[in-house]
Point group: C2
Chain length 157, copies 2
């Protein structure tokens, strides 16, 4: 499980898609504009996401992308794994005999960590994130309202 900006882009885009595709498909052009990611880069990412069976493309006018599964059934680890080239991350290719003693043990350990992080990210779904966003948006709106109230107060003073 590699954690880079590429994966973050993918998660961002999927979150945007989940948020806006409840009624009709969302075009990559829209996502590109909202998230300031280049259209062609998004196309690359979504080609992988599509091949991984996470999204479905709808051609023609009114088309775009939509999710294949429910947001509660799409987790972060899968999104990141879909856009990252599957690398073996080991020199021995699981042969467990690459070095005399140390190397394979270290790589074992690393794979262990990687597994744990993957498990953690697997436990978080798009639905979880959406909910979190919803909460935050409410918080922001409330904050704005509060600000507004303060301004009015201030004005009336």
């Amino acid at each position: 499980m590699r954690l880079t900006t590429k994966g973050r882009y993918a998660v961002t885009a999927m979150l945007d898609l989940a948020f806006h595709s409840q009624i009709k498909p969302v075009t990559l052009t829209d996502i590109a504009a909202r998230q300031t990611i280049s259209l062609s880069y998004l196309e690359q990412l979504f080609a992988r996401l599509r091949r991984a069976g996470m999204v479905k493309g709808v051609r023609g006018p009114g088309g775009g992308y939509k999710l294949c599964r429910k947001t509660s059934e799409i987790n972060i680890a899968d999104i990141i794994a879909a856009v990252n080239e599957p690398i073996d991350s080991t020199k021995c290719g699981g042969e467990a005999n690459c070095q005399k003693d140390q190397a394979c043990l270290t790589h074992d350990l690393w794979m262990g960590l990687s597994e744990q992080i993957k498990d953690y990210l697997k436990s978080i779904s798009l639905a979880d994130l959406l909910e979190k966003n919803q909460v935050q948006e409410v918080a922001i709106r409330q904050h704005h309202d509060a600000q507004h109230t303060i301004e009015i107060h201030h004005h009336q003073d």
Copy 2:
């Protein structure tokens, strides 16, 4: 918290160092040979580890590197952070106003995940890994012994 091969190299090298530097300092040449990492790349990594106060270089014959702290006081997150350039990983630089609505929330979420992974890796020390390795070595030795026994048996049959 970015997870790449660079960090893995650093952890591997530190684990090797912890394992072999109990009596005297360990040269990078030795680590390079054992872990098949290029010497000069190790030099780059250890320059950062030294600046981060995790290792100490000892010059002259019989010199090498040794750990500054006890293995139980060195955690994985610090090792990875030491070799990775500190990037802000956000477009808005914490201004929280980079986009109209979505982007900053996503980046918030990402930073949250990153924090959690960091916390997890912080909870694992070199000592923990050494212990794990020790256990594995015993397992391997036992496996070898078993093999040996089997061979003898086979021979005597």
